[in-house]
């Protein structure tokens, strides 16, 4: 049991990472990752919503009829996101202003409704929560890495505005140079960073999997043998 939960986590963090492999939720991923702190904020918010929506969908799965499941997912996800937004506004007001519309837009993150439909509506509560946490953490870590990468290249600093999470005086971040490469902060920089991240993941996978294993793994993928 415990090993299967760990397996779920590993799926979300690496093998089926919503950002790197499924390429879901790209709109917030590309838009807010100008700094590490922004990525962390939106990543944690998405993680909480994903874990809780998976839990609620899984709890209610037995008495929800097929034909009304989508409106119910929308209801559950929208309420959770509204609650998260209110909590951010109350306890992390500067972070909320920095992320702006992308907190309410978590509702439209297709990774969340995809996990509700594909996993939580067919699996027990424990596995669903593990799946939500794994997928959410995978997404959050990707947001954080891309945010840190773009901040390092674009502003030549790291951890700027950490005060948005910890409170206290505005913190300019650890700076290494006067000015970075502006391109990394602008929208094209987001696409380049994501492309580099996907390429890095593929390169690591290829190195870890010998050629013959790769073909077996591909077949499993294609026949859906390993699909949830």
């Amino acid at each position: 049991m415990a090993s299967s939960l760990l397996d779920r986590l590993q799926h979300g963090l690496w093998r089926d990472n919503p950002g790197l492999v499924q390429l879901l939720g790209l709109c917030p991923l590309l838009a807010v990752t100008t700094t590490f702190v922004n990525g962390l904020g939106l990543g944690v918010a998405t993680l909480i919503v994903l874990a809780m929506s998976n839990a609620l969908v899984s709890i209610t799965r037995r008495w929800i009829r097929q034909e009304i499941r989508i409106p119910i997912y929308v209801l559950i996800i929208a309420s959770l996101v509204t609650c998260i937004e209110l909590i951010f506004k109350a306890w992390f007001p500067t972070l909320d202003r920095s992320l702006g519309i992308f907190i309410p837009l978590i509702v439209t993150n297709c990774a969340i409704v995809a996990r509700a439909e594909v996993f939580a509506s067919r699996n027990p509560v424990g596995a669903s929560i593990a799946d939500g946490v794994g997928m959410g953490a995978g997404f959050a870590l990707l947001l954080m890495s891309i945010g840190a990468f773009r901040e390092l290249i674009g502003q030549a600093s790291i951890l700027s505005r950490l005060d948005m999470i910890t409170g206290g005086e505005p913190f300019a971040g650890l700076s290494f140079a006067d000015r970075g490469l502006l391109l990394a902060i602008l929208p094209p920089g987001a696409f380049f960073s994501l492309a580099l991240a996907v390429a890095a993941k593929n390169a690591i996978d290829r190195k870890r999997t010998p050629l013959n294993r790769t073909s077996v793994w591909r077949r499993e993928q294609l026949t859906g043998k390993d699909n949830p």
Binding site: T60, W63, I64, R65, E67, I68, P71, I72, L75, I76, A78, S79, L80, T82, C83, L86, I87, K89, A90, W91, P93, G154, P170, R179, L182, I185, L186
Partner: protein, 212 residues
Amino acid sequence: MSENQSVLTSGATLAFIAAVCTALVAATYQATADRIAANEKALLEQSLQPAIAGLFFEGGVSESRLVLEPPHELPGSDTALIYRVYSGDEPVAALLAVTAPDGFSGPIRVLVGVAADGSVSGVRILQHRETPGYGDSIDSTRSDWVLQFDGRSLGDPVITQWHLRVDGGDFDQLTGASITPRAVLKAIREVLVYFDANRDEIFALPATEEEP
């Protein structure tokens, strides 16, 4: 009959889940409403502070607020806000939040503080989407550009010189950006002209009631 029943069951399930979700949101709202209101008020006072150069609000911020719905004579076609600062009954300054409509990447929200004698007590950019590294130098956290307006008024320099140097005026531009500072400067100039023409009325009008 069974089809009717299944529709009824579905409807009841939906209604029940909707009620539970609404209750969840309502409870969170109840728990956070006070904190959110306090945060918003603190943010507003904090953002107004630099534009009045150290003068503190004695009364509440919202109690001194005038809300001007468009069309008005101030720059921009958005709602303009005027916060009045008094010392006793004596007017000290007015803070005008207006929109410069002609920024490089859309409108720029500018807060212009004008002392009762008509001189600028401070300018801050409240909201903008200008290019990082170039136009965003109008923001006081990025450069000192907006500080050059402190203490200036319509006579200093004369209104024909209230332009950027590149346009033959008296004010510094920004390297690599001219549209952005031009838009901000124009908004400041128009605010000063408006203040000059309506000074007494601005300080005499009763505050706009808050929406219930």
